[in-house]
């Protein structure tokens, strides 16, 4: 069995993957963001790279002199972020940008309350599964080709049969995070039948 530390699909390896734009680059994206006054939504289904993009965006905004404040909600943590708001509310200004991952967790009324209480912030950028809460900045989508490319980046000596790649992509409905988590299990070598289709060549 492969040790967790040797698994090429370990979380810290996956977190090193960079967001890949389909048809633009960082300067273009930042220009659009500026033209939208740093307000907008990164829209896409689960596992499509929204959080990765938001994380990288934080690193791009700080050197511009903006103060970045991050807020994260998910299905397990969806209460109104009262303490976050309280800690910022009176100090927000044009240089403050809030990056809100998972804004769809707030019900409509809470969402409007949040917007009102943070209205002095210079920017508000959110991730969400569905468009509508703020003007869409970018739609994150996944493809089989992207999945294959990411797998190769995680381990250059992994040969994954196209059938297995397709099967995982279909099974997880394009959710690359979940598909890669399943690859983690396959790479442990316990599920030998599946592992037949996943060839891990040792590095010499």
């Amino acid at each position: 069995m492969k040790r967790a530390r040797d698994n090429p699909f370990a979380v810290e390896q996956v977190q090193r993957l960079r967001y890949r734009f389909r048809d633009e680059d960082w300067p273009s994206f930042l220009n659009r963001l500026r033209s939208q006054n740093y307000r907008g939504a990164i829209v896409g289904p689960k596992g499509s790279g929204k959080t990765t993009l938001l994380e990288e965006l934080a690193g791009q905004l700080a050197p511009l002199g903006l103060r970045v404040h991050r807020l994260f909600l998910n299905e397990q943590r969806r209460a109104y972020p009262a303490s976050f708001v309280r800690s910022l509310q009176n100090s927000l200004g044009p240089q403050d940008v809030i990056l809100f991952d998972g804004c769809e967790q707030l019900r409509p009324l809470s969402w409007w309350r949040f917007r009102w209480q943070t209205r002095r912030a210079g920017g508000l950028i959110v991730t969400t599964h569905r468009a509508g809460r703020l003007p869409t900045l970018i739609e994150c989508q996944t493809t089989r080709e992207l999945f294959g490319e990411l797998v190769r980046r995680l381990h250059d000596s992994i040969a994954l049969s196209p059938e297995t790649l397709d099967r995982l992509f279909e099974k997880h409905r394009g959710n690359l995070r979940d598909a890669i988590r399943e690859l983690y299990d396959l790479a442990t070598g316990e599920n030998l039948e599946e592992t037949d289709s996943l060839t891990l060549r040792s590095r010499m």
Binding site: M1, K2, A4, R5, A10, V11, L192
Partner: protein, 130 residues
């Protein structure tokens, strides 16, 4: 180009818990840092979120741009280095130049008999046919 290096006794990387080791830190930096820190840290690696912890920090003040220093470090008693299917705990020494953000890292094993504790049985046999 800045360079930092950590040299371990006899080039070993596996140690007993609470063993005191003599670590040589070497640095050659483009500019003089305020201080150098040798940290004893651990992190987890695997399928779940990553946890990190700093066990010990030894500071070298006004170290100059290039030099070397030998430091005695008592390694912790626990937790042991271990690996299972879903999580590994990895110890490491890190040498960090402040505030330059230059650093280097050397992973080590801390455990009884200088071995990583394995949470699963190592098997070299091929799987039995059904």
């Amino acid at each position: 180009m800045s360079q930092l290096a950590i040299y371990l006794p006899d080039d070993r990387s596996d140690f007993e818990p609470m063993e005191t080791i003599s670590v040589e830190a070497q640095w050659e930096l483009d500019s003089e840092p305020d201080s150098l820190q040798l940290r004893v840290v651990w992190n987890t690696s695997g399928k779940g979120d990553t946890n990190i912890s700093t066990n010990k920090i030894l500071t070298i003040d006004s170290p100059g741009a290039a030099d070397s220093r030998r430091l005695d470090v008592e390694l912790p008693a626990a937790p042991y280095s271990f690996s299972g299917k879903y999580v590994s705990l990895i110890w490491a020494l890190e040498l960090i130049a402040q505030p330059l953000n230059e650093s280097c890292r050397r992973e080590i094993t801390i455990g009884p008999g200088r071995r990583e504790v394995l949470l699963h049985r190592e098997s070299t046999d091929p799987p039995a046919e059904e």
